[in-house]
């Protein structure tokens, strides 16, 4: 009772200070922020923060296309951002309210320009690669010391997969990333929108399909960390989080991440403001808060993803800025590819192919 009375009085004081209790609703990916930042934001700005999470671009996109999501800040990936901008889902940023924009890193903003010309609608939050996470001791036990953990061979060669199957292999349930990966592996253009080229991914997956335990886009963090599975094709930072959890648990699991040497996809998660956001001013305050170098560094240090903020690099932990799996070298960056959104007809081909692959028939 005493506490509730206290909160109540504090609430009144706060309401008096800001004229009205303001709130910002943020919809971000799961396991994607240092949660102490959320409290820090509330304390610094006096704005109530309502923070929800999702684990697939598709779920976010459907909310954006339906409209009236009620969110002020959302975090789509570049290709999805581009399509949603075209559909009229976002409002242009008011750059005068974002002084911290000067901290952003041109290496990244020149790349996100492809999805959001002039970076008019979104700021980069994190970026990363889609690659392979493995439980090293198990893999070496099964495939020997020289197991190709830095190559797509590990998961796309049926001989390897046959041996790994019993131990558990997860793939992302994200066709717009998994199809390009297979195309890159067989030497085709990963960003092809030609249905005939896309169809070439089918035999690659069908050959290994019996050995894949599950297609899922978030469960692999825990499964890999617990030792439930040996291999996960997933997002860089997620796998590095699994590495950390396994190390903390001291359960004999040792996770390593590699962006395959044949070429891996590079993606960018962007923060944008829906066109019907209830509180666009508060959304700008949140974006500016996130672009503060120390805050951005805290987020990266926690989730092991690289960010698009140059100034934050001074505050990054050594095992983040110094890890080539997170911040690849200049040459390694050359080896990464990006993709563009599929047109509706092509998207249907891709989804249908993916359904076929997943159902194995």
């Amino acid at each position: 009772m005493k506490t509730s009375l206290l909160t109540f009085t504090a609430g009144i004081a706060l309401a008096a200070a800001t004229a009205q209790a303001e709130e910002v609703r943020v919809y971000n990916w799961s396991d994607y922020i240092d949660e102490s930042l959320l409290e820090k934001f509330e304390q610094e700005t006096g704005i109530d923060l309502i923070y929800d999470v999702f684990d697939s671009n598709e779920v976010l996109e459907t909310k954006m296309l339906a409209g009236g999501s009620g969110y002020d800040v959302v975090v789509p990936t570049g290709t999805f951002l581009q399509r949603q901008i075209e559909a009229g889902s976002f409002q242009k940023l008011d750059k005068s309210k974002l002084p911290n924009l000067e901290n952003m890193w041109d290496v990244i903003s020149s790349r996100t320009d492809k999805y959001d010309p002039g970076n008019e609608y979104a700021i980069n939050y994190m970026w990363g690669t889609t690659g392979i996470g493995v439980n090293v001791p198990k893999i070496q036990e099964i495939l020997g010391e020289d197991a190709p953990i830095d190559s797509w061979d590990l998961v796309f060669k049926p001989e390897n997969m046959e041996k790994l199957a019993a131990c558990g292999v997860y793939f992302l349930d994200a066709p717009s990333e998994m199809i390009p990966a297979a195309l890159k592996y067989i030497g085709e253009d990963p960003d092809s929108h030609d249905p005939d080229v896309i169809a070439k991914a089918e035999p690659v997956y069908m050959a290994i399909r019996p050995y894949i335990s599950k297609f899922h886009s978030s469960e692999y963090i825990n499964a890999l960390a617990n030792g439930d599975i040996c291999v996960a094709v997933g997002w860089s930072g997620d796998i590095l989080q699994a590495r950390d959890r396994a190390a903390e648990a001291e359960n004999g699991v040792e996770v390593a991440y590699n962006a395959p040497k044949e070429g891996a996809q590079m993606w960018f998660d962007e923060m944008a403001i829906p066109v019907d956001a209830p509180n666009p001013d508060g959304a700008h305050v949140f974006l500016n808060f996130i672009m503060d170098p120390e805050n951005m560094a805290a987020a990266s240090n926690y989730v092991y993803y690289a960010n698009g903020n140059k100034a934050s690099q001074a505050f990054l932990a050594d095992d983040v800025i110094g890890d080539p799996a997170i911040y690849p070298s200049e040459e390694a960056l050359e080896n990464l590819f990006t993709t563009t959104p599929y047109e509706p007809k092509v998207q249907r081909v891709v989804t249908r192919l993916w359904t076929k692959i997943k159902s194995g028939s």
């Binding site: 894949i212 599950k214 359904t355």
Partner: protein
């Protein structure tokens, strides 16, 4: 007047919660996909008046329904959902009937407690209960650990991410919906009928088959509907417990809606699903009514 109001209430309910949503879905299923918010066209523009209405109706077509016939994915998914729903209903009946029977035969003072025990799981979130099944069935899960420890198996059983896990999840989740109507039918059963049957020379098994079973038939039918219908469109259980090869229409719907962003085709799939459900139910009820009339 009062009677009219009383009848109007269920009809208003049906109108607001079934017919109106159905018409909205039907409208979307006749539209075309578009890159806009919301992602389909034509939109009904009431401000344009009669002209707007006319152009709206002229642009509707059945293209999405013909599209469903061009790809065998949809038929396979419908059939596989029907199969999973039918098997689950049969399994739930096999498990639920004896439970309901035992409850109805238990001493009267126990019954409220037993009933409570059946309802109790509803107090925990459905999602949490499905997640606990993941903990039980996974390779490192409780079930495999116990079986390994007992030495019954050498390698963990792969139950998680298979259709078996879906059956377990469905039977577990919908069991109360089977037990409750059967229990309520059995509880009302007049015990003297059974005595009479035995007096007239029936064995206990015959008495069960000739008296108890037919008299609990309404409960069985209600229970089967309550299990079959939601299972047919089930999405959560197969996506959490099932493997990628568990093909169900709920999942296909999700993919049309979310991955393809094709609301019109998704709506067409939903309309067909509804027809698949409704037509047999109407036929069944007609048949029942005819039977009743013939008996009466």
């Amino acid at each position: 007047m009062r009677r009219f109001v009383l009848i109007a209430i269920p009809y208003l309910w049906l109108l607001a919660l079934f017919l109106v949503p159905f018409l909205i879905v039907l409208k979307i299923s006749l539209s075309d996909i578009a890159l806009s918010r919301p992602p389909y066209a034509p939109q009904l523009d009431l401000a344009a008046g009669w002209e707007g209405l006319k152009s709206f109706f002229s642009e509707l077509d059945f293209e999405n329904f013909t599209f469903l016939t061009t790809d065998d994915l949809y038929w396979k998914a419908y059939l596989s959902s029907l199969k999973i729903a039918a098997i689950s209903t049969a399994l739930t009946l096999c498990v639920g009937y004896p439970v309901a029977y035992a409850m109805a035969r238990a001493p009267e003072e126990w019954r409220p407690t037993l009933l409570m025990l059946v309802i109790l799981p509803f107090w925990t979130s459905f999602l949490i209960r499905v997640y606990s099944w993941m903990g039980i069935l996974s390779n490192e899960g409780v079930l495999n650990q116990v079986l390994l420890w007992l030495g019954i198996i050498d390698t963990p059983l792969q139950i998680m991410n298979t259709t078996t896990a879906v059956y377990i999840g469905v039977v577990y989740t919908y069991l109360p919906f089977m037990i409750l109507p059967i229990y309520s039918a059995l509880e009302k059963l007049d015990g003297s009928l059974l005595e009479a049957a035995e007096d007239l020379g029936c064995s206990r098994l015959e008495a069960f088959w000739l008296v108890t079973w037919p008299l609990s038939r309404n409960g069985i039918i209600a229970g089967c509907f309550l299990v079959f219908i939601p299972t047919l469109g089930e999405f959560v259980i197969p996506s959490l417990l099932g493997g990628s090869d568990t093909l169900m229409i709920g999942k296909v719907l999700w993919e049309e809606f979310f991955s393809n962003r094709d609301w019109p085709v998704a709506s067409a799939v939903a309309v067909v699903l509804l027809l698949i459900l409704i037509i047999p139910i109407i036929l069944f009820q007609r048949n029942e009514q005819k039977q009743r009339e013939a008996e009466g």
